[in-house]
């Protein structure tokens, strides 16, 4: 079977970002704690591929460290969403039409109805800015996405004969959800997870940009963008580098998500022939 083009392109971009983040754990081209003020605002050169920022730090090294933050925050936020949302959705589907279903889904609607940035500001205002609070703020808004998705997919599965057979075998709805439903909706969760992951990267950048995400000295793409905005006319590369990185990463993750859906969705498989 031929892999869809979007999967390859998205996979390569995501792979590069992931490798950069992993690499920065042990090595970066320059140490960003050493401020080489003599070099500040140098445009890209052979020594500094993406140039130097206003503190004299190597921008490529900063981006690599920032990838760590972005990936960690987005991944944990998706984790929060899946870990809380999928069980809620499965529970709602198991009690379809019942009180639990109604409560869970209306609770979801409530979360959906809140503007996410306002809540994020609220959380950071109460608990103080930081990466952990950003994860919680983004994670909360992932919960209803996964709850709805799992409930919808689970509802169609509950009508299938093999679920009927499992009920005839005396299995509780909890066990049926765990053994039969979850494995069959996993592909949907993976695809949605990839897409939520890219939204998480974007949200982290946005929160850091307004100063509510990761705090210095932790490197963050959004922070770099915020720091660079006054220098746009003076040294555009300082703003362009993190900006383009965010765009490319989100694009890559979205393509990966689309590609995975094409690969995993049997209906689209049939259409591809």
């Amino acid at each position: 079977m031929k892999a869809p083009t979007s999967l390859i392109v998205g996979g390569v971009i995501s792979g590069v970002v992931l490798t950069a983040a992993a690499c920065s754990l042990v090595w970066t081209p320059y140490d960003v704690k050493l401020l080489d003020v003599a070099q500040k605002l140098r445009p890209p050169s052979l020594a500094h591929w993406l140039g130097v920022d206003h503190f004299g730090r190597d921008i490529l090294s900063m981006l690599m460290l920032g990838a760590q933050t972005s990936i960690a925050v987005a991944l944990l936020a998706v984790g929060v969403g899946v870990a809380a949302g999928a069980p809620l959705g499965l529970w709602a589907a198991a009690r379809r039409g019942g009180v639990a279903d109604e409560l869970i889904m209306r609770g979801n609607d409530l979360v959906f109805a809140f503007p996410s940035l306002v809540i994020a500001i609220l959380i950071t205002a109460v608990f103080g800015p930081g990466a952990i609070n950003a994860i919680i703020a983004i994670g909360i808004f992932n919960i209803p996405v996964f709850a709805r998705l799992s409930r919808g997919a689970a509802l169609t599965l509950w009508r299938r004969d093999f679920i009927l057979a499992a009920r005839v075998a005396g299995k509780s709805s909890f066990r049926i959800s765990w053994e039969h439903i979850l494995p069959n909706i996993l592909n949907l969760l993976i695809v949605q997870g990839t897409i939520q992951f890219s939204l998480g990267v974007l949200a982290e950048a946005a929160l850091s940009y307004i100063g509510l995400g990761a705090q210095p000295p932790t490197a963050s793409w959004g922070r770099m963008l915020a720091d660079a905005q006054t220098l746009v006319s003076l040294a555009p590369h300082v703003a362009l580098a993190p900006g383009l990185t965010i765009v490319l990463t989100v694009l890559g993750l979205n393509l990966l998500g689309d590609g995975l859906r094409d690969l995993l969705d049997p209906r689209l498989k049939a259409a591809r022939g």
């Binding site: 093999f162 057979a165 009920r167 005839v168 075998a169 005396g170 299995k171 494995p183 069959n184 022939g273």
Partner: protein, 532 residues
């Protein structure tokens, strides 16, 4: 003069041959029956005639409709021909109609596409067409929506759409497969009348020999993309030249030999005044909710070793009753006792569940696609307090698989590696594995091809010979129920209207409903087989 000539039609997708040298012709006013089992290429043939071969398919040969080649015609010309010169009736009346449009508009649409007429005129002609197919505007106004009609009425609308432009050719792809026997008889009559009246040529595609033998003058038998035999129906009923046609006819009239029922034994299942009702939507704000009594006061018993049948039209409450017997449906009143224990919809209550297992209709949706056969068929072990483990469990799996005619190596496969018939065998293995006292077959062979169905029914008879098997066999197919049960119950509108020994009920039906069912069921009468 012939109307449709298909000559050496070959269709292939990605190198795989779907149709191979298919040739036949249809004269005006003639009904040609295209018969064969699933996957034999019947539907691809029909769609190719409509100029709608599957995407990416390569076609060879020729399809000539009144001298015009469909395969080489441009899409614009084909759009003119479809609906105007040829119409098509589909199998599933549920999905063939647009649920958002009233029936009048759907029939008028065909007319508006092909002729420059005013909307009012198109609607007027639509109402005439609907009246012709048995939906007079007085009782079925044009403003009705598909969901307000029954399956048979929807299929009539589908036929009205197909014949609105009085096409020369009508293609009917399994037009009555989704319908009840009584409705089926009416729709078949309608189609036959229309062919006579409009002098249309008709290609009727079906897997049901009994249905087609009453309709078509000529039959073409298809097997894996080839037409293996074409002959007049009369002739084919007398003598079949190709072994596949012979096998198909033999399977259609297959009789299983059940061992004699054991002497009267103690009662295994007892249902008393079972009532299952669903609340209907309120008519007004303050009117009390009315309830649909899906199962309305059903009382019967099933003795150990007995093979009981349950027949009735769709919507009569068969499925609800079967779900109630499995403890999946709460009872409003009445009681069901299984082996002396009350059946209740409580999953934790495994005592009585151990005595009953079920085989469901759909061989494709009946298994978790991500489990291996071993886990699938050993799922009912969940009901045992001490399920066998290790070698004992493996032995039980192998025993169950061999009992249904599969082999031990199949335990490691996934369900998609099996055909429909094999899947139904696996479903039976799953029901047998904990050796329940009662098995419930809910339309267990309805989705299978005739030859596979014959094998499964034989398997059932064999199992009856080997072990004391009691079962309740629920089906809408009278012939099947007749061959595999000792006693039968007839259900209508939630009530059991007649019950008795199978042969007696079928040969001397007492109730109106039973008589209707029997009279409508198409019968295949093979006159004299060369092989018998």
């Amino acid at each position: 003069m012939t109307l449709l000539t298909v000559e050496k039609l070959c269709v292939s997708i990605g190198g795989a041959s779907i149709l191979d040298q298919v040739s036949f012709d249809v004269a005006p006013g003639e009904i040609l029956g295209l018969i064969g089992e699933s996957g034999s290429g019947k539907s691809v043939t029909a769609l190719s005639i409509m100029g709608l071969p599957p995407q990416g398919a390569k076609t060879k040969g020729s399809i000539k409709l009144a001298g015009e080649d469909i395969l080489t015609a441009r899409e614009r010309r084909l759009c003119q021909l479809r609906g105007q010169a040829m119409g098509m009736v589909f199998q599933e009346p549920m999905t063939a109609l647009n649920p958002l449009l009233p029936i009048g508009a759907q029939v008028a649409e065909t007319i508006l596409v092909h002729e420059r007429v005013s909307k009012a005129e198109a609607l007027e002609r639509a109402s005439q067409t609907l009246a012709r197919v048995g939906l007079p505007p007085a009782t079925f106004p044009l403003s009705r929506y598909p969901h307000e009609l029954s399956g048979g009425q929807r299929q009539r609308v589908g036929i009205a759409i197909a014949i609105a432009m009085r096409p020369k050719l009508l293609i009917a792809d399994e037009p009555t497969t989704a319908l009840d026997v009584t409705t089926q008889a009416q729709v078949l009559d309608l189609l036959k009348g229309l062919v006579d009246e409009l002098q249309m040529g008709m290609v009727m595609i079906t897997h049901d020999l009994a249905v087609i033998s009453t309709m078509a003058k000529r039959l073409a038998v298809m097997q894996s993309g080839r037409i293996v035999e074409t002959a007049a129906t009369e002739e084919l009923l007398r003598k079949r030249r190709h072994p596949y046609s012979e096998a198909l006819f033999a399977a259609s009239t297959h009789k299983v030999e059940l061992p004699p029922p054991p002497a009267a034994q103690r009662t295994l299942l007892e249902a008393r005044d079972v009532l299952c009702a669903y609340p209907l939507p309120r008519q007004g704000m303050l009117t009390p909710r009315r309830a649909l009594r899906a199962v309305d006061g059903v009382t019967f018993t099933l003795a150990r070793g007995e093979r009981l049948g349950l027949v009735g039209e769709s919507g009569c409450g068969k499925s609800t009753l079967s779900r109630a017997l499995l403890g999946l449906e709460p009872l409003q009143s009445g009681s069901i006792m299984l082996n002396g224990a009350p059946v209740r919809p409580n999953a934790a209550d495994t005592q009585w569940r151990r005595t009953i297992q079920a085989v469901f209709q759909d061989p494709y949706g009946g298994f978790n696609p991500r489990w291996r056969v071993r886990s699938l068929i050993s799922e009912p072990f969940h009901l045992l307090e001490e399920p066998p483990s290790g070698a004992a469990r493996e032995d039980a799996v192998v025993d169950a698989l061999t009992a249904v005619g599969l082999c031990a190596a199949d335990a490691d496969k996934y369900i998609h590696e099996f055909s429909g018939g094999q899947r139904q065998r696996i479903a039976i293995a799953r029901a047998l594995i904990i050796q329940p006292e009662l098995i419930l077959f809910d339309e267990a062979v309805s989705a299978l091809d005739v030859s596979v169905r014959a094998q499964i029914l034989d398997l059932l008879a064999e199992l009856c010979r080997k072990r004391a098997l009691s079962y309740l066999f629920i089906s809408h197919d009278l012939a099947v129920v007749r061959s595999v049960t000792d006693r039968v119950m007839v259900m209508q509108a939630g009530k059991i209207v007649e019950q008795g020994a199978t042969e007696q009920v079928f040969s001397a039906p007492q109730h109106e409903c039973t008589r209707n069912l029997l009279a409508s069921a198409p019968k295949l009468q093979i006159k004299n087989s060369a092989f018998q």
